[in-house]
Structures are given as C-alpha cells and as structure tokens.
Amino acid sequence: MAKTQKSVLKRVLKQLKGYKFWLILTVFFALVTVAGNLILPVLFGQIVDLIVGKNNVEFKAIYFKFIIIGAVIAITCIAQWLMSIINNHITYNVVKDIRAEAFAKIQRLPLKYIDAHSYGDIVSRNIADVDQFADGLLMGFTQLFTGVLTIIGTLVIMFVINWVIALVVFVITPLSLFVAKFIASKTYSMFKKTSQIRGEQTAFIDEMIGNLKVVKAFNREDENIEKFDEINSRLTSASLKSIFFSSLTNPCTRFVNAVVYAAVALSGALMLIGTFSVPAVSFTTGLLVSLLSYANQYTKPFNEISGVITELQNAVACAGRIYELIDEQPQKPDAENAKQLSDVEGNIEFENVYFSYTADKKLIENLNIKAKAGQRIAIVGPTGCGKTTLINLLMRFYDTTGGSIFVDGNNIMDVTRKSLRKNYGMVLQDTWLKSGTIRDNITIGKPDASEEEIIEAAKAARSHNFIMQLPKGYDTEIAEDGGNLSQGQKQLLCITRIMLCLPPMLILDEATSSIDTRTEVKIQEAFAKLMSGRTSFIVAHRLSTIKEADIILVMKEGNIVEQGTHTELLSLGGFYSKLYNSQFAV
C-alpha cells in the first residue's frame, strides 16, 4: 500500500475512535450472525444424515432439529438487522463529522485560498468525494467483520469435522488474498485520478452553469459542450479503467474458490470410498455435504473482502482529497492575548504598509494613511489601482506583508478578527445574497432585530417599497444569488443590512453603483446621517459622493499619488483634476 494511502487510512481509523461502543456492538452482532450462519449447515447436514433411504428416515429427530433451526434463524435475522442499523449509524455519523469538519475548515481558510481555488472543486470534495467515501466505509463495515469472522469460524469447524480436508482448504486460499492485494495496489492510483478529473469537471460545470446567462448571450453552448465532452471523455476513460480493474478482483477470487471447492469434493469423496484414509477421523456423506457447503461459505467472504478492498481503495482515495482540504493551512489564528476591540472611535492609521498578492509582483509599497475618527475618506483612482486591496487589508481579509494598521491605536494584528470586523459595515459592489428569505438576508448582522427596526432600516435604504411588491414581502424566499432581483435591488438589500446594524466604521465600495441616482440621492441622505460620527472609507466613481469627503486619496498603481480635499486637489491641477474634468468631456 502506498504511504499516503496508509496515512489516510490511519486518519479514518482515528475518526472512528469516537464510536468505540458502537464498533464493539457491531462486532458482537457480527459474531452472532456468523455463528448462526455457521451452525445452520451443521444442522442441515445432520438432517441429511438422518435421511438415509427408503423406510430409513428418523422423523422425530428431524422435527426436533427443525425447532432448533427455527430459533437459530430468528436470532440470526435480528442480529443481522441490528448490525446493519449500527453500521449505518457509524458510517453516516462519521461522514457527518467529516463534512462538518471540512465545512468548519472552509470558514477558517484564508481568503487567499478561497480566491485561488475553484469553488466547484471544493464543493466536489465536500459532496461527491464524501459520498463515495461513505459508500466504501459502509460496505467495509457490513462485510469486513462478518467476512473475517466467517473465515475464522468456518476454518475452525472444518478442522473439527475433518482436519485433512480443512488443511487442503487452508493451503489453497491465501492465493485469493494475494490476487486481491495485487489488484488493489494497482487500482488506488486509478481511483485517485478519476476523483481528480471529477473535481475538474465539477469546477467546469460550476463555472459555466453558474454563469449560464453569459454563456447563452454569447451562443457559447456548442463550444462549452465541446470542452465539456473533452473532460467527460477523460473522466470516462479513467472511470472505465478504475472500474474494470477493480472489478477483476471478484472473478479472480471466485476462480480460486472453484478450485477450493473441487479440492474439497475430491479429497472428501476419495476418503469416503477409502482410496486413502486417515486414522481416527470418522467421515460420512452428510459431513461431506456440510463441508462442501462450508467451503462455499468460507470462500464467499474472500470474494466479499476483495470487493470491499477495491471499494475501500476508492473510499480512501476520496477521503484523501477531503483530508487534503481539512489539512489546508488555516489563516493565522488570532493572537493568544488578542483584545476584543470595543467602543471604537474610529482613528485609523496605516503605517509603512507593504502588501502584494504574489511575492514577485509588488502592489502596495510604503503606504501611510491617517484617518481621524468620524472622517470621510474617499479613495479614487483608475481601475486596478489597489482600492479593493485597501479594503482587503482594512477588514483583514488579507494580512499586510509589512508595516501595520492601527484602529484607535490598536494594531489590528493584536485584536480578534471578529471584533475588528464587527466594527465595520461593508457594502461591496459585488452584491452577495444568501438563499433564504429577504428577512434572513437583512438581519444577517443583527439576527435579533425587531420588525420595526427592520422596516425602519429598509425604509432608510429605500428597499421597503420594492420588498412590499414581492409576493410575500419580507418573507419572500430568494433563490441562490438573488434569482430574479435586479442588480440594483440586490444592492439596496446589502445597504439595508448595514442600516440595520449601524457599526462604528464603514466601508462602501461602489455601494450604490447599480442604484439609480434618484434613489441614490435619497439613500445618500440616510448615508450622510449614518456617516456622521463614523469613520468611513468610500470607493466611488460618482464624484458627487467624493466631493464632500474630508480626505480624498488618489491612488495609482498601489500608491497614493495625491491626497487632500476636493478643492485642494482641484487647485493642484494634477491627476485628480484631470479625472474630475473628464466626466464633462465628450
């Protein structure tokens, strides 16, 4: 077994530790089931021995045996059922644990990871891979224990009945284990590859189905299908390989079984007719019948175990991908003595801040900003100049590579992320709504808000009217990513969220870009009220919003090239004035 495979397997076993009690229970029921399965052939064999020939049948003894058999059947059935239920219980709970762990991990991953990985692949790990893992695990439980126990039990009984024949069986069977192991070691990498391509395909589906509207607008359906088919073909050939090779195990072990069966028949029959005999071993036709049936029972689990092994290969390969996600480096945890940021006034300071997304491409260098409590800081500049990056740093979505940022004199690295973010209200241009009701979306920052508060906030954000026009008002369910709402309406809802929780500092990144200006003017009144006494960072292209800012930071290529008030900057006649005057051109 490959090394990685082993370590993954170890992880799985560790995951099972919490279910010790259930594991013991399932082994117990497996024992009962196996015992029942093993006793029945003995009893039936005894009955066959009681049926000798014409007028030579001992009915009384036979009927007595039937009663015993009936009891054994009943007990075995119940044990079997309970075993299955327990196995389900363990498997699905383990899977639940793993999913929860993976999901919790996603919450702790740095945004850098999320930004750099395709969502589809992560989703595929948490859904498809975990599912496959569950299938394998369940099969393992249902068949591994009973399988191993059956093998041991049968061997013991066979030795008791006739040690010579048992020995014959014992010598031949390791062959099937060898075959199974050989095949399993070959298929692991195939399964892993299949799983990988599946992730790739999910990513493609996610991208294209998620943006289906653009796809349709460009008539790209055919090209997409082409690309899809290419991935699909690769997936198909990889699956074919892994499925076929893994399914070889069963026929191979079954062949070994046929050999075992023939060997038992041969040696048994020869002993009965006296071709050779072993002293001190009494043997009857009935016993041979039992032995043959044991030989079948004995080899069957080999079949199953080999099947389980291939299934487990797949499961382990999938588990490996989930653990990969779970083991991803999480964001740096809050410092141990991190403070709770509270009673924020809103003095924000950037001190010699350096930052870049990739080490080889500088972006922000030696940035210094001082914002006093209650000031309005506008950030302007051509697209791609680093405005969004500034927000990433303020909110600690990304950490600076050099220098520090202070809020009220506290280095933001020394306060908890939560308390830092709680003190900011953020509205981004890229609106995001979760599936759920309008109400759920508005109260995201203040879940215990009263109906009056919600309506008041919605009125301030000018979203109340359109919400009331929706079929169920505030209780209207909206689909993933906003469904039928217009871009502007989505933005109004995002603003309503902020209006409701009123944090002491604000970040507005093109917060009103999709809202019509008449509505915007009305919202601005509310914003103005909101911003008074609150430090606010505003990214906007509408210079009307910017004009009233206390400081305007003009950014270009990651640096601040000009800084000052609107009038100061205009009289400077530099980059800003060029930008400002351009809107009246054409």
Partner: protein, 574 residues
C-alpha cells in the same frame, strides 16, 4: 429510469454481452451441484471408483476456469457500458441545462444543477454497472435453481416457486418503500451543496458579518437532517438481508421435510435431496448479493428521477414560425410589450412600445427595479414577453432562431464575468477564430488596452475562475471588449460602465460612436451623462415607459428624467 435507458443504446452490444457472459458464468455454476450429486450418488454410494471422482473434480475446476473467462469479459463490458452510459447522460444533461431559459435558471439555482450533474449521475452509473453485472445473473440463478428443482422433483420445485414469490414481494416492497426516501436524501444533499457553495461565494460578506460560527451551526443542522434521512432509509433497506435469509432457510426446512417423506417412501434418493439443498443455498448466496445491489439500484432510481426532472424541462421560451415580411425599417420595434416574472404581483414591464432605426444609439434610464435590464434582455429573446411583440427587421423574435438572433447581438451583462483560461480565450468567446488584430482592435475600443499591456503575458495572461485576478473595472472593460470582438449588429451595454471612472467611461462612449460597423447600441445606465448623446432615450419607471426622446426633449417634457439628471448635476455643478 426507463427514459434514461436510451443512453445504453450506443452500447447495445456491451449491454447485451455483459449480462450474457454473466449468464454463461451462472449456468456453469448451476452445473456444479449436479456434478457433486453425481460424485455422491455414483462415486461414493454407487462405487464408480477413484477415476470417476477425479474426473468429476477436474470438471469442477474446468467449470471454474470457464467461469473466470466469462466473468472477466462480463465485467469489462459492463464497465464499458456503464461508463459510456453516464458519459452520454452527462453530455445531454449539460446541454439541456444550457438550453434552459433565463427564468428556469433563476428557478433552479446553480447548486441543484451541480448535484444532479455530479452526485446523481455517479449514483446512476454505479447502478447501471451493477445491474448489468448482477441483475441478470441473480434472477437467472434463482429461476435456474427453481427449474432444476422441478427437474429433480415437482413438489420440491413447488416449494421453490412459493419461496421465490414471497421473496419477490419482500424485495420489491422494500424497494418501492425506499425510493422516495432516497429521493429525500438527495434533496437534503442539494441543501448541503448550496451551503457549501454559498459559504465560498459569500466568503467576504459572511466574514465581514462574523457569520462563520452561525454558518457552521446552520450547516450542522442541515448535515444532521441529511444524516437522519440516511439513517431512516437505511433502517428499511437493512431489512432486506435478514428477511431473505429467513425466507430461504424456512424454505430449506420445508424442502427437507418434504424430502424426508419422499426418501422414506422411496420416490427420491439422498443425492437429490442434497442437490435441492444446494440449490436453495445458491439462491441464498445470490440474494444476499442482490440485497446489496438493490440498495444501490434503488438509490439510482431515485437519482434517475431527479435527473429526469431536468431532462424533461421544456424550454419555456416560445418559438413560433416565421410570418410577416422582413422589413428594413424600423430595425427594432417593441409593440405594447409586457413581461411578468411568474409570481410577481406587478408586471416587470408594462405596455412598452418604441421603434429603433439601424445604427441608432438608445439610452435606457430609470429607477432601481424599473425594468431596464428586463427590457434589453428581451432583444436577444432571453425572456418571453407575456404580451405584445418584439420585432427585429419586422420579424418576431419568437420566430427567429435564438442562435441567429444572439449572433447579431453583442451583450455586456451587468455582472462582469470572465472565465478560466487566457485573456485571448475569453475574447474569442465572441468570435471563435478572432485574430490577435481583431482582438486588439476590440480591446482598444473598449479602453482595455492598458489592462492587457499591464499584464506580463499580454493576451496569454491567465484568467482565474470568474476573473478573480482582475479588478471590477478591468473585468468590465474586458467584457465589453469580448462583446465587440464579433462586431455585433446590436450592442447591448447593461449598466456595464458602472465600475469605470468618468474619464474611461467618456472615452469608451467616444470610441463606440466611431466604430466603423456602426452597431445599433442600447445603453442601460444610471448616469444621464452616459446616455445624453443617445439618439433616443427611454425613461422607465416601475415597468412603464414614462418618457421617450432626446436629452433636450426629455429635460423639458419628462419630470422624472429631469429629476434624475439634476440629482447628478446639481451638485456636480454642470
């Protein structure tokens, strides 16, 4: 499931051969008890001697070898057919999804489509594979054993028949009961997928509101519901194994007591009783395998139902046939158009009528939710008008093929999305064989030249999924360039300059005006500055058209337009 069977058609040969080889294998297996009976009756009881027994045992090994060959072939064909099946299914599903209308996409949601495409199809694939491998084999062994039993003794055969009938009832009963339950499980899986996707797409917002723990708690709840559903259906399907076990063993009891009577009266020999017992034993082994299989198959049935739901969705868009003559003028004409999004209490568009000549620029302005996007989405026939008609060159858009129609249009959607690949690949969305010159021409016109210049690899720069490695404004300009590459007859800009600064916006408008192929341009905007030079401006309010005309006309005649304009210019001191 039946409807999905057509995907096996291309693999007819394989799907016939796989079970066939399995049947062969099974038939050889059925001979085994006969050989054993012969060994006992002739070899042991009849005294045929060592040679006979050795020969018989060699036959057993030979049967094993034949079985091996058959089984391997069967596995290969089954895998081939199953994998091919799901390939075809995935292909069709994907193209079906692509053919859905905008309103259907809105209703379904991305996550649901993804689980159907991945998890559900996977389940169906394992189902098909197993069915081909075992579903024929198991009934064959079961019924084969019964026939053999009839050959040996009619009464014993009767016992088999009754046992099998009871088994069928149990097996199908459990199956029928659990299919809807498995459907429920997959439905809950949908919700888990949604949670996972949302936590990724909304990572910034969720973290800004410190929702991590709530997200985990909510996911935990949904996860728990999934587990509960899985456990419940598990309890029912777990009955399959013990029940079949009990039925078979009870049948053996009956068989042996019947056999005992017959042997006693001399109508049956002992070897036959052993053979009958062996056949019953084989049925048991087969059924235990079958029980595991049936769980998988049941799951596949549930998943097949879900996949079918999508495959059976009718594209909601209407397609009429061509009537009316094509006319040169007006180029585009809206006649009393109304739109309603399914369940909304108000029409999204209400009685909109206007004409546009070729080469004109049309500005569309109005409040949030006024219907601006809806209006432009009607031109490429993304939605159907509930009432009225939209004519392009005199032809109803319902009648013109969507592909032809959309080929005429260059569309820049509100949300600027780029796709994974290179910039060049993204630009070629508009025109597959666009040369670098055509691309740079479009890029130039879209004011995106500096975006590409700033990138090390120029057009070959990698674009990450969704264009995450570009800023909002960069993405917006690139999406404009993408629409211009194909030199569309109709250019639709749906508020697509919102992230651009005024200077770039102004330069963009200027360059659009100077395009040598002079497209008909629709500009949706919030800013009057973006549209004031348009030949025609349409003012929308609550889905109604409340003004149409030039900037100057509207300033005089349209109250709302005036308000919009002055809300932007009063303060900015025009």
């Amino acid at each position: 499931m039946r409807k999905l069977l057509k995907y096996l058609k291309a693999y007819k040969l394989q799907s016939v051969l796989a079970p066939l080889f399995k049947l062969l294998e099974a038939s050889f297996e059925l001979i085994v008890p006969l050989v054993v009976a012969a060994i006992i009756d002739n070899g042991i009881d009849g005294g045929a001697g060592t040679g006979y027994i050795v020969k018989a045992c060699l036959i057993l090994v030979l049967l094993g070898i034949i079985g091996l060959v058959c089984a391997v072939s069967a596995q290969y064909f089954a895998a081939k057919a199953a994998v091919g099946f799901s390939k075809g299914l995935r292909h069709d599903l994907f193209s079906k999804m692509q053919s859905l209308s905008y309103s259907q996409i809105d209703g379904l949601g991305t996550s649901k489509m993804i689980t159907r495409m991945t998890s559900d199809v996977n389940q169906i694939q394992s189902g098909v594979n197993l069915v081909l491998r075992l579903f024929m084999r198991s009934p064959f062994i079961v019924f084969g054993a019964m026939i053999m039993a009839f050959v040996i003794n009619a009464v014993a055969g009767g016992v088999f028949a009754i046992a099998i009938a009871v088994l069928c009832v149990v097996v199908f009963g459990i199956m029928l009961a659990s299919i809807p339950l498995y459907k429920k499980v997959q439905g809950r899986l949908d919700r888990i997928t949604t949670s996972t996707r949302e936590t990724l797409t909304g990572a910034r917002v969720l973290r800004a509101f410190c929702k991590e723990d709530e997200e985990i708690a909510e996911y935990g709840k949904r996860n728990g519901e999934l587990t509960k559903a899985q456990l419940f259906v598990g309890k029912i399907s777990a009955l399959m194994n013990p029940l079949t076990y009990a039925i078979i063993n009870c049948a053996i009891i009956v068989l042996l007591s019947v056999g005992a009577l017959k042997v006693n009266s001399g109508t049956l020999d002992r070897g036959s009783v052993v053979a009958l017992y062996n056949y019953m034993g084989q049925i048991l082994i087969e059924l235990i395998k079958l029980a595991n299989l049936i769980i998988t198959v049941t799951k596949s049935f549930a998943c097949a139902g879900r996949v079918n739901e999508i495959l059976e969705m009718q594209p909601a868009i209407k397609h009429g046939c061509l009537i009316g003559e094509s006319v040169k003028s007006p180029f585009i004409s809206f006649k009393n158009v109304c739109v309603n999004y399914g369940n909304a209490s108000v029409n999204a568009l209400d009685g909109v009528s206007f004409d546009v000549e070729r080469g004109q620029t049309v500005g569309i302005i109005g409040g949030t939710g006024a219907g601006k996007t809806t209006l432009v989405n009607l031109i490429p026939h993304f939605y159907d008008a509930a009432d009225g008609e939209i004519l392009i060159e005199g032809e109803n858009v319902n009648a013109v093929g969507d592909e032809v129609l959309r080929d005429k249009c260059g569309i820049v959607p509100q949300r600027a999305v780029l796709f994974e690949g290179t910039i060049r690949e993204n630009m070629q969305w508009g025109k597959n064989d666009a040369t670098d010159e055509e691309i740079s021409e479009a890029v130039e016109a879209a004011q995106a030249a500096d975006v590409i210049k700033a990138k090390e690899n120029g057009l070959d720069e990698k674009v990450e999924q969704g264009g995450k490695n570009f800023s909002g404004g960069q993405r917006q300009r690139l999406t404009i360039a993408r629409a211009l590459v194909k030199k569309p007859e109709i250019l639709i800009l749906d508020d697509s300059a919102s992230a651009l600064d005024y200077a770039t916006d102004a330069a963009l408008r200027k360059s659009l005006k100077n395009l040598d192929y002079s497209p008909t341009v629709f500009i949706v905007s919030q800013r009057t500055s973006s549209i004031k030079h348009a030949d025609k401006i349409i003012v929308l309010d609550g889905g109604k058209m409340i003004g149409v005309g030039t900037h100057e006309e509207l300033l005089k005649s349209c109250e709302v337009y005036r308000e919009i304009h002055y809300s932007q210019y009063e303060k900015e001191g025009a």
